[in-house]
Symmetry: C2
Subunit: 129 residues, 2 copies
DNA sequence: CATAGTATTGAGAATGATTATCATTCTCAT
DNA sequence: ATGAGAATGATAATCATTCTCAATACTATG
């Protein structure tokens, strides 16, 4: 049999797919519980892993221990994390492609993915400091 | 009082400072134990944190859950991790500076640091597959 | 030199995120 | 209906890391 899109996975997918947030497992469980359809935490983790494997959501690691998920389909981007307020800003720059190209040419490696996280103070937190 | 460079911290520093590896706490404890001077695990973690705060070693996060440390003083670089053999390759590219410049100019953020990890198959693992 | 006041240590408990177990329930194609 | 393979939920278990706390080790003064 194949992977199934169960009601709980649908709930997770709908939540992530209809927002631009970067969700962690706990946040998802929390919101779903508040919405009435609470799911066992193990099921949340398994559901997230399954949905990611299917390419329906995208998982990222923001150096804070917990894995986050965002909806799939957005164009490639990296993340800036404000260490003061925790806000996450997406960004991208064409030069990144050159870096990958150079890296694989120099080393002969095949690149499968990457994680580029920049941190500091966002504009408003910079002023407030 | 000030931070002290105790014998156990010196041992950790010497280990990291004299190699080009990317050590995790467990690896350090293991090697030091094998060398006769075993240290409590809490002390290893505290020592690493202290040495990092003093700028004597540099901590990095390679998306695998455990924090790694390398000797300070090496020029800036990022890391390529082979997901097949686990080898870590260092690289750098001048275009990265442009990305930061662009990001801070566009968003008004102050950048304090970053973590750029690329993963895939290294040259030898690519052939072997 | 005695001594108060910090820093550090080590053993072990505790934490937080995630995964593994396992018995039960669900689904789908015969 | 039925049996094999998925999925669920409650709970135990992992893993890296941090916390607690009693015992030491240093340091700066008096
Ligand atoms: Mn994003
Ligand atoms: Mn390095
Ligand atoms: Zn901020
Ligand atoms: Zn390799």
């Amino acid at each position: 049999m194949k992977k199934r899109l169960t009601p709980q996975r649908e709930a997770i997918l709908k939540l992530i797919g209809n927002s631009d947030q970067h969700w962690d497992a706990e946040g998802i469980a929390h919101v779903l519980a508040k919405m009435g359809c609470s799911i066992g935490q193990a099921t949340v983790y398994r559901g997230l892993a399954a949905l990611e494997k299917e390419g329906l959501i995208r998982g990222i690691q923001l150096v804070d221990g917990k894995k986050r998920y965002e909806r799939a389909g957005k164009q490639h981007h990296d993340h800036f994390v404000c260490t003061a307020c925790g806000s996450i800003t997406e960004f991208s720059h064409p030069a990144e492609a050159q870096i990958f190209e150079h890296l694989s040419r120099e080393t002969g490696a095949v690149i499968h993915g990457h994680e580029f996280v920049v941190f500091g103070f966002c504009a408003s937190c910079r002023e407030a400091s």
